[in-house]
Amino acid sequence: MMRPVVRCQEHLRGAAMMLAANNTAIKKGVFMKKRALRGLVLALASLPAFAQTTTSAPPAGRLLASNCYQCHGTNGSGGVENIRGESVSEIYNELKEMQRKSTPKMMDMHARGYTDAEIKLLATYLSTLR
């Protein structure tokens, strides 16, 4: 059975060959463009087996927010306290308030480990979970 990553690589090689065919049909006098196109052909043909360009990047904040799940459950649900379905501002304000507590408990202390930007990032991701 052919592995999907190999298939992907072959798709790219196929695309590169088509470009190469078009390249030969290009009229003389566009030498620079032709060279650029040849470069592209080579680049595509030499892509490593693991290179896939079809997938989208993982959602920002997903990995950071997963620090919550040991206590708050996978995807923020089912643990010590449900945090799934809260809005960005709810999560953000709660964490900022925890950072300011004068006698910090465990979660207040944990919250102090994140920068303001990180809190925004994980709050934004958590708010998208349904």
Partner: protein, 442 residues
């Protein structure tokens, strides 16, 4: 042709049996109940999407790190990422909370977690087997019996193994002086030794702590407190002596200093056990010899055997060095090592192994799709320690990646311990434990 009788036998000894088996156990039965009563706390396998990412990942070891990485590879990677988990045991016994077996408040069976959820909810292929060889060039793992599992990425999470101290070479000697630092039969055996201590108060319980790094920094001090608390109530007059190879208490200094004073524990720092005489029940140390009724020697640790056997214990011959952005080995491309076996700046403990596993899963999925790992991960260590049968303290630290030292560094303001033990902490401890095990196995 396989006869029906043989087929049943075969199912019972392979991964197929795991999906259906094991629900008789306490923790598993609880989880099943919760699953049916709570509102979609986790995604089911049928909800897994096709992310477009494809690849084959083999995971060796089904502890806190291995189970979590298998689950999150499927949860985040979707149906194109095939995940095979190879584990020698039918279920995992949690080390966390296992000290509470020693005072009779928990049974080992309440700490067991099977792999049924990983296969039924996330489509992880669970193989019950022992690894015989790893081919890092051809990228495959072979188990005893000869079945070969090819991989694009391999994750190894074998936990720890123990040095064998002089005098403890035989199984009989090890049974007489258990470490009980891998929860299971030894934990029950140690509990039985404690309850068999004399009622006239002449008994002495001696435990020893190895030099850092070892699994669960607060764990040994917690054990001393739990055992002393039980003895004071049930075998008054008995003594508890702690021999610590470290120069001082390595975690939750306030809580354990107070706990040791409360329970009257004799603490001897800078004391390393060099050998054990099981005939006279004597520990020979770098200081004076110590005799006891019950000896609980926790030997120095090293990474699980599979790493050294495959040339991957490159850090001092004991641990595996990794890049903490991906947990990929520094000596073997394509092989990732997570949890207690990895040499990092983080504590060796189940809670943080769970987060290392998520970073590893995320990095593998990015690598499989031609991307670089997340450049700024966090991990966190959080745990509760019982100090008595009804009170607990806690410890927490939030680690951030430092690009200069290329290591995980605790954010100072996020690190600390409880101001005092309390019953409130004890009840929070039970909730934390249930949530952590759910995030790992359910």
């Amino acid at each position: 042709m396989i006869k029906r009788r043989d087929f049943i036998k075969w199912v019972g000894t392979t991964g197929i049996g795991l999906a259906a088996g094991g629900y008789g156990m306490g923790a598993l039965a609880d989880e099943k109940k919760k699953r049916t009563s709570s509102t979609s706390s986790t995604s089911s396998a049928s909800a897994l999407t096709n992310t477009g990412i494809s690849g084959r990942v083999v995971v060796i070891g089904g502890g806190m790190g291995g189970a979590t990485v298998a689950k999150y590879l499927r949860l985040w990677g979707g149906i194109g990422v095939s995940v095979t988990l190879i584990e020698r045991d039918a279920s995992y016994t949690s080390n966390i909370m296992s000290n509470l077996v020693l005072n009779g408040s928990r049974a080992v069976s309440s700490l067991q977690y099977g792999y049924g959820n990983l296969s039924s909810r996330y489509g992880v292929k669970v193989v019950k087997g022992e690894v015989s060889s790893i081919d890092p060039v051809g990228r495959s793992v072979t188990v005893l019996g000869g079945v070969r599992y090819p991989y694009d990425r391999l994750v190894i999470a074998p936990g720890v193994d123990f040095d064998i101290l002089p005098g403890l070479e035989t199984a009989a000697a090890q049974a007489k002086v258990p470490h009980a630092w891998k929860a299971g039969p030894q934990t029950t055996a140690l509990r039985n030794m404690i309850t068999a201590m004399p009622t006239n108060g002449s008994g002495v319980f001696v435990m020893s702590i190895p030099a850092k790094p070892y699994r669960c920094p607060p764990g040994p001090y917690e054990r001393a407190c739990i055992v002393a608390d039980w003895l004071n109530k049930n075998r008054p007059g008995s003594k508890v002596i702690v021999l610590d190879a470290n120069p001082g208490i390595t975690a939750e200094v306030n809580a354990f200093t107070a706990g040791f004073s409360l329970h009257g524990i004799e603490y001897r720092p800078n004391t390393t056990v060099l050998s054990v005489d099981t005939s006279t029940m004597t520990l020979h140390t770098n200081n004076v010899d110590v005799q006891g009724t019950v000896l609980n020697v926790i030997p120095p640790h090293r990474a699980g055997k599979v790493l050294a056997a495959n040339g991957l214990a490159d850090a001092g011959g004991r641990w595996s060095s990794v890049d903490v952005l991906s947990y990929e080995s520094k000596v073997a491309p394509g092989i990732h090592i997570i949890g207690d076996a990895a040499a990092t700046t983080q504590p060796k403990a189940g809670h943080i192994a769970n987060q290392e596993a998520k970073i590893c899963a995320d990095a593998i999925l990015r690598l499989l799709s031609g991307r670089a790992p997340d450049p700024s991960p966090h991990t966190n260590s959080a745990c509760y320690s019982p100090i008595t049968a009804t009170t607990a303290s806690w410890l927490t630290a939030n680690f951030a990646y430092d690009p200069v030292s290329r290591s995980m560094v605790p954010v100072p303001a996020s690190s600390g311990e409880a101001t005092a033990r309390s019953t409130g902490n004890f009840s929070e401890m039970n909730k934390w434990f249930t949530a952590l095990m759910g995030d790992t196995f359910a």
